[in-house]
């Protein structure tokens, strides 16, 4: 038993050090999250190793032998007090950086550009502010075949919003982004592992989170809250590129006003969509 316990402790540490499975290279400003995680790994790893090795020692040293008798020791206030204090310090050492980073997480910088991510079973759509720099009002009740994201047709601010229905989301490198999240049906969650940050998308309300892309490239977005039978297949893509490329891409996109004017858009047959979904 003792030997096995030693093996477990050392094996776990070895696995941790040698494992090829580690987080994806970061592509946003949330390196702080990784730092906090590493601190937590160090503290918990040390506690785990020490305690398991201690148990192994006890099992080897105090295993029953004929004539052996256990010592009688109901409690030791001093020892327990010390252990409590050390634990409290360790917990605080993890909690304090955690809360500090969380304070950044909840405070969106004032210069963050708004981007809207809209979820429905089982696809992602996006909306970017147009020339006026702000997103127009939107609500589930406005959703129709001509207005797939439910923009308020009476709000002048929504006329120039860029609609990305079925395309990839592009983001400029190095600029903070505030992602506003909406859903028409069930709870989803927008997660790009490289960005670290994520948030649930709740129908009936707008949720948000923010991040700054720090690495150009194409990243996969997944749904990370179970949302029905095709949850696993609900994927999207985010392209991060330098400002000039981003600008030229943006200029080619359709705005809400010319999106709604497009007459040839096929009506989306609900039954057909469902069947397609079932076939996947």
């Amino acid at each position: 038993m003792a030997l096995i316990l030693v093996l477990i402790a050392l094996g776990s540490v070895a696995f941790h050090l040698l494992s090829p499975w580690w987080w994806t290279p970061i592509a946003s400003n949330w390196g702080y999250i990784d730092t906090t995680l590493i601190i937590t790994f160090w503290i918990t790893g040390a506690v785990f190793t020490v305690l398991v090795l201690f148990v192994a020692y006890c099992v080897a040293r105090f295993r029953h032998r004929p004539g052996q008798k256990a010592s009688y020791e109901p409690e030791s206030r001093r020892l327990e007090g010390w252990l409590t204090a050390v634990t409290a310090v360790g917990v605080a050492a993890m909690l304090a950086p955690g809360l500090a980073v969380w304070a950044q997480f909840v405070r969106v910088p004032a210069n963050a550009a708004e981007v809207e991510i809209v979820a429905q079973q089982w696809r992602w759509s996006y909306r970017l502010p147009g020339a006026d720099g702000r997103l127009g009002a939107a609500a589930t009740e406005f959703v129709s075949d001509e207005n797939p994201l439910g923009l308020d047709p009476h709000d002048p601010a929504s006329k120039d919003d860029v609609i990305l229905d079925g395309d990839d989301l592009h983001l400029p490198l190095g600029r903070p982004v505030k992602a506003l999240l909406r859903s028409f049906d069930v709870v989803h969650d927008f997660y790009v592992p490289e960005f670290r940050a994520k948030m649930d998308v709740i129908p009936g309300m707008v949720t948000y989170f923010w991040f700054t892309p720090t690495r150009s490239g194409t990243f996969e977005a997944i749904c990370n809250e179970v949302c029905g039978v095709n949850h696993y297949a609900m994927r999207g893509r985010v392209v991060v590129e330098p400002e000039p490329q981003y600008r030229s891409w943006l200029d080619q996109q359709k705005t809400f006003s010319n999106f709604a004017a497009r007459p040839e858009r096929a009506p989306r047959d609900a039954a057909l969509r469902r069947r397609v979904a079932d076939d996947r």
């Binding site: 696995f15 109901p74 634990t87 990370n224 039954a271």
Partner: protein
């Protein structure tokens, strides 16, 4: 409670609380089927829970088949996959773990360990089991309902749980909610009974601070369950109304597959609050009895008193109290007001302190003990390792920012399987190996037990420890398949296959366990009344297995705390709780 000083030397009068009017069975049917004897009810509860738990085990094999070898079994499609994971989770958490610890161990051990003849309300106790059985049957019925069982995930988040994009939205979800409602009703009957029994029916001399930690754990867990289940009850009733009568408690305006539904105005997050208000205490409903039982196993088999008994009791109470103010740590990325994160992260990490104290005290009990590596002791030590591992990863997830990338990944799956799957189940096994001799009068076969132990413990560790790293990589949970994602390297699939193979081996080892249970019933070595030389009252019954009424003509009288092992100067290395002081040779 009345303070009644008793003459120092004189034994107690054979006091028998007059409320205990034991029901005496008249026929085979009332003795073994509609029994009001807590011991029979305990066996009924455990048997039913282990049976349905076996179903959940088979479901877990199917999950691992799909994850380890995707596409090999075309009969598991996404719909079936989601139904399988949902039922696996729900059965394991509610119908197995809760039922075994409170209905099984609670019923068997509470009256015996506190020196009572039975539960205070035996009839209600019987009803509790039958309602539980009904709940299980309704749950099983959903497997055969049109559309199959619900595939909403065990958290049953609306709106998806009742919308057509989720498998089992026709009947499965209705039967699931009905079954939960029944379970809660049945449990409340039992729970009130356990609490009153602990409070009112203790043997003379059994003060609270002389109760074994097992009873402390079960008692506190029962109180938690009584206060936590109403939240699930309310949530289930409201969702049932949304599903059947078209109310909109949790349902906002919804466009589903291009169709606008008649719902509007509801708040899905409300359900999440209700669910986790139940769901987090539920973790401790499972963990606290395990804490208690493991304390007694370690103390008995290390022949040493549990180190820091008072701290252990206080920690149980503190954990129980704190567990009601941490629920939203399951909801850090749920879109609730993010400022709640500060509060809930702090309360969550504070809970780590009393929990850590418990771990230290178990370990310190081993220090300078006289450790007998019996099968129950092996399970108890394995519990310490797995619980420690799972508890420490809990610090990742409880710390709000660290949770952000990890939530809903396999890290979470690995964490909660380690801490509230593997660890408590190891305790259940340990408890069964420990008390089986009392229940049947025979020992379980030790060689089969060792085989079962090593495969289960090492296998479970190998299954869940590497899984954390897949989660760190970003592999999401509840994914039917993870193909086509660029950030997941091909090696992750090999690791998944490895995990699956180990999981099948661990599952197969449980067959050995069941075979051992059945075989030892007939062929086990006769155990005698107190094979482990334990101090607590259940080992001091006049008959083994204990008869109806437990104690023969007179109730036991308690003279000491439950951990008088290896007392200096005593002839034996244990002093039973009902051994009078003058007979013990020397008082400590």
């Amino acid at each position: 409670m009345v303070d009644t000083p008793i003459g120092a030397a004189g034994p107690f009068p054979g006091s028998e609380p007059d409320e205990v009017e034991l029901y005496h069975p008249h026929s085979w049917l009332t003795r073994y089927v509609f029994s009001q004897d807590a011991k029979i009810i305990a066996i009924q509860y455990s048997g039913t829970a282990l049976a349905i738990g076996f179903v959940a085990l088979v479901l877990s094999w199917l999950i691992r088949l799909q994850l380890g070898f995707p596409g090999l079994f075309p009969s598991i499609g996404p719909s079936e996959y989601y139904q399988i994971i949902t039922m696996h989770g729900m059965i394991m958490v509610v119908y197995l773990l809760t039922a075994v610890f409170l209905g099984g161990f609670g019923n068997y051990l509470i009256p015996l360990m506190i020196g009572a003849r039975d539960m205070v309300f035996p009839y209600v106790n019987m009803l509790s089991y039958w309602v539980y059985l009904l709940a299980v049957l309704v749950l099983v019925a959903s497997f055969f309902a049109p559309g199959g069982p619900t595939g909403a995930g065990w958290t049953l988040y609306p709106p998806q749980a009742i919308l057509s994009g989720t498998p089992g939205h026709e009947w499965g979800i209705v039967l699931m909610l009905a079954s939960l409602i029944l379970f809660i009703i049945g449990f409340t009957m039992g729970g009130v009974n356990y609490v009153v029994t602990v409070l009112q029916a203790r043997a003379p001399g059994m003060t609270l601070m002389r109760m074994p930690l097992t009873i402390w754990g079960i008692f506190t867990a029962t109180v938690l369950a009584l206060l936590a289940f109403p939240a699930l009850f309310v949530g289930a009733v409201m969702m049932l109304l949304d599903r059947l009568f078209g109310t909109s408690f949790f349902m906002p305006m919804i466009i589903e597959a291009g169709q606008r539904l008649h719902y509007g105005g509801g708040t899905p997050i409300l359900f999440q609050h209700l669910f986790w208000f139940f769901g987090h205490p539920e973790v401790y409903i499972v963990a606290l009895p395990a804490f208690g039982i493991v304390s007694d196993l370690i103390s008995t088999h290390a022949r040493k008193n549990i180190f820091g008994y008072r701290m252990m009791v206080w920690a149980i109470i503190a954990i129980g109290g704190l567990s009601f103010v941490v629920w939203a740590h399951h909801m850090y990325v749920s879109g609730m007001n993010p400022y709640f994160g500060f509060f809930f992260a702090t309360t969550t990490l504070i809970i780590a302190v009393p929990t850590a104290i418990k771990v230290y005290n178990w370990v310190l009990t081993l220090w300078r003990g006289d450790i007998h590596l019996t099968v129950p002791m092996l399970f108890a030590i394995a519990f310490i390792v797995t619980f420690l591992n799972g508890g420490l990863t809990g610090l990742f997830l409880g710390n709000v920012v660290v949770d952000v990338p990890l939530s809903d990944t396999l890290f979470v799956v690995a964490h909660f399987h380690m801490v509230m799957g593997v660890a408590p189940i190891l305790v259940i096994f340990g408890g069964i190996y420990h008390w089986y001799p009392k229940v049947t009068g025979r020992m379980l076969d030790e060689r089969l037990g060792l085989l079962h132990f090593w495969v289960t413990f090492l296998g479970a560790y190998l299954v869940f420890f590497p899984m954390h790293y897949l989660g760190l990589l970003g592999v999401p949970r509840r994914y039917f398949e993870i193909t086509g994602l660029g950030f997941i390297p091909a090696s992750a699939a090999s690791l998944n296959a490895f995990i699956s193979v180990v999981a099948f081996v661990v599952g197969a080892a449980q067959v050995v366990f069941v075979a051992n249970l059945i075989r030892s019933l007939r062929h086990g070595v006769p155990a005698g009344g107190n094979p482990w030389h334990a101090t607590t009252l259940e080992w001091q019954t006049p008959d083994t297995p204990p008869r109806h009424g437990n104690w023969g003509a007179r109730l036991p009288v308690v003279y000491r705390w439950p951990y008088d092992y290896s007392v200096p100067g005593a002839a034996e290395d244990f002093l039973p709780q009902n051994q009078p002081v003058h007979a013990a040779g020397a008082a400590p």
